[in-house]
């Protein structure tokens, strides 16, 4: 059991897909301007990440090494279709805003990367927990950025007014440039932290 917790924990911080490996940034910056889209994106991401990890690791013994990438892509594309259809059916209003990014989960580097680096040579249960860990790691970064941006940009959280109405919203925070600035500050903070940690050793 301890092993599985470690796999999940690895996804949350030490090998966090977004912050440490810095892949899959496109969707993080694009959908982090409101909490609702961030949550829907995380949900759609989990619907692709976890099942595709399970399927790929369960058929890993039959996949010929030379054509493994096309097989990964087909599995991921199938689950992306499912997740896009579910999102369209149950969360239509938010889906309309971010549909391009949900469709583009199919080329998300995190999912293909984990299929190649983890699911292809680990057991089914380990891959399941890796998928959960990666989803949490992706989701918390995305949601954290979205909370800050929506709070400062609109004074709301998931559409509910939080700050007093006398607050002047800083419109820039929900516009595209703030996504770059936020990621820049996060990456800078993280690299400074890692540098200091390295100095101590």
């Amino acid at each position: 059991m301890k092993k599985y917790f470690k796999i999940i924990w690895d996804g949350i911080t030490p090998t966090n897909p977004v912050l440490i490996i810095q892949i899959g940034l496109c969707s993080v910056i694009a959908v982090s301007n409101s909490v609702e889209s961030a949550l829907l994106m995380t949900f759609a991401f989990s619907l692709v990440m976890i099942p595709s990890n399970i399927i790929i690791s369960s058929i890993r013994k039959f996949i010929p090494n030379e054509i493994r990438v096309p097989i990964f892509v087909v599995v991921i594309a199938a689950f992306t279709t499912i997740s896009a259809l579910i999102a369209r059916a149950y969360f239509t209003a938010v889906y309309e805003l971010i549909k391009l990014y949900i469709l583009l989960i199919v080329v998300n580097c995190i999912i293909i990367g984990r299929a190649e680096a983890f699911a292809y040579n680990h057991t089914v249960s380990e891959s399941l927990f890796d998928g959960i860990g990666m989803t949490i790691g992706y989701g918390w970064v995305l949601t954290a950025i979205a909370v800050v941006r929506e709070l400062l940009g609109k004074g709301t959280l998931a559409g509910i007014q939080v700050l007093p109405s006398s607050y002047q919203p800083a419109l820039i925070m929900i516009l595209p440039p703030a996504g770059f600035l936020m990621i820049g500050i996060l990456v800078g903070a993280l690299e400074t932290y890692l540098r200091k940690k390295g100095d101590k050793k």
Binding site: Q22, I23, L25, C26, S27, I29, A30, P70, V73, V74, A77, A78, T80, T81, A84, L85, K99, L100, L103, L104, V106, V107, N108, C109, I112, I172, L175, P176, P177, A178, G179, F180, L181, I183, G184, I185, V187, G188, A189, E191, T192
Partner: protein
Amino acid sequence: MSFSHYLVDLAKIFVSSSIINNIILIQFLGLCSYIGLTDNMSSSIGMSFAVIFVTVCSAILAWIIDHWILIPFHLQSALQITAFVLVIGSFVGLVEMYLKKASPNLYKAMGIYLPLIATNCIIMGVAFINSLNNYDFVQSVVEAIGISLGYTLAMIMLAGIRERLRNSDVPQFFKGKAIAFMISGILALAFLGFQGMIK
């Protein structure tokens, strides 16, 4: 719609896709190569040419699949993602093999970027944008050209700035990739000024 209206429409699509809704700075697609390859000018130019070529070809391919196969057989909602990703992926592989054989020089200049393109979200993004907007064939091609030129513009701008940054004093906190993101933020701010240019 008369022919002149159609031409105006095409011009609008071109300006909107290349500048107003710049694929990198406003829509955030293809950030991996944008941050990863803009360390020097020559690699960003090489990547841009590869993207221009592959984007236009794959937009044509995607349009053909969409309008001749998926829509007539009512498969658009179920099979579109799989069909696009397979056809575009194998097209990029084919181009790579052909270039290696037919023109080694071009392959040397462009070849190392082609595997990167296969996982680039711009190529798939253009296919989806065209299909979501119900563009006809000419409009799809114009959109693809506009998007890839917008990509080139953003790549060259950031590469130029980063080449200059090498000799300048960057604050310790922002050393490395962080400063590239901050610059992109400011560039995106400048591009926001184009918003509302087309009604």
